[in-house]
Symmetry: C2
Subunit: 237 residues, 2 copies
């Protein structure tokens, strides 16, 4: 029987190597990543710093798209911000995208080296990721990026969405996973309201990104599993 645990990225102390870690940053990194891959991006490379992103474009070539945010805003000189709606098929099909965000890419950095396989999940692809990771043997960790080190309601709800579907496939949940799964179950039909009540959603709404919150709350919109191959996130299958 596999075991499913939910952890906060900033306080997680890996206890050995997990079979699978699912990085979750619903607002907005993993929603952007899932959208980009669903819309045909070839790969998404998460990097920690803005300077890393520019350096990587130098190396890979000028066709590389740079995306992400600092203080919620698109970085100067970047092609894309951190709104999922920007990552249209017209814009991203076939592209290599280098992305850097405040919380999400830090969570990826923490997860690397602590997991055999690394995935990215958001509410928009929680079902697809759950179907995939429930087939893993061993320990599965849902790693919530949070906001500046703090617990985020939307990441917790997404961890619950993945956990609940894994439990339905026989995976055993730890206490945090049960709590998250039960929260998701209770709010499955009004996920947008739940997400919108969170601190990060309210911050984004004030900054003019209310549509991003709506996009991020569309449960199972995409049947895409972002898988990290050691260098980039790619669509599985």
């Amino acid at each position: 029987v596999s075991a499913f645990s939910v952890q906060q990225a900033d306080t997680w102390t890996p206890n050995g190597l997990a079979s699978a870690v699912v990085v979750i940053d619903v607002l907005r990194a993993t929603t952007v990543i899932a959208t980009a891959l669903a819309n045909g991006a070839a790969r998404v490379i998460p990097v920690a710093e803005v300077t890393d992103a520019f350096a990587l474009r130098e190396r890979i070539g000028p066709a590389t798209l740079l995306g992400g945010e600092r203080r919620n805003q698109r970085v100067e000189g970047f092609d894309l911000g951190n709104s999922p709606a920007e990552y249209t098929p017209q814009r991203v099909a076939g592209a290599t995208i280098v992305i850097t965000t405040t919380n999400g890419t830090r969570a990826f950095a923490r997860a690397q080296g602590s997991a055999t396989r690394l995935y990215a999940a958001a509410l928009i692809n929680a079902g697809a990721v759950a179907e995939r990771v429930s087939a893993e043997t061993g320990s599965i960790v849902a790693l919530c990026a949070g906001t500046e080190g703090r617990f985020s309601l939307e990441d917790w709800a997404c961890a619950g969405a993945v956990a609940l579907r894994c439990a339905e496939r026989g995976v055993e949940l730890d206490d945090a996973a049960i709590a998250a799964a039960e929260l998701f179950r209770a709010h499955r039909s009004d996920l947008y309201a739940l997400v919108a009540s969170g601190e990060h959603a309210q911050l984004l709404a004030r900054a003019g990104f209310a549509d991003d919150v709506r996009d991020a709350a569309m449960l199972d919109r995409y049947d895409v599993v972002p898988f990290f191959d050691g260098e980039a996130l790619k669509r599985l299958l």
Copy 2:
């Protein structure tokens, strides 16, 4: 407006002095403390180590009762274990009780010095504590003891019980408090089933303490607010 936050004791990094910290260890330390005070104990002194308990009895006098557990069992030479049902009025009325438990007393140690006022809550007195702390101005922290440093479902549900009642009185909840409050709201009518599904409850049931889980899940059984005066927990009012 006061702000309510939920934190895990082992990862909490206090950001300044909280107005009030509510220590929660439903299975079983704070349930025992609330029961003892509701049944007339004069004071309950939480200490970290078994040797501290014996030393304190030497100092205070032989009438002092020693209570608590190691590996879930009563400590040899102690008068009481860690089952709320042991703390009857016959046994504890008027008594000074020194208590040491694996997780709960560690949480008290962490909370001391980080809060202006320190309370203890369990599901059996969540309503009374909420009524009291919702009158606080400033920041309120529900500090979940957890189990050996891990998230505990029953502590989270109790934090949610306190948070929800505080929110009803106008206190603002952070994301973790919203998540906990919504879980409590969804399971208010079947709290025993929720608590019993947690890891710690299952461990206790296997160790022969299933009744303790049932006792711990009795929401608002007692109208008692355990308040730490710098030395001991006493009944407020």
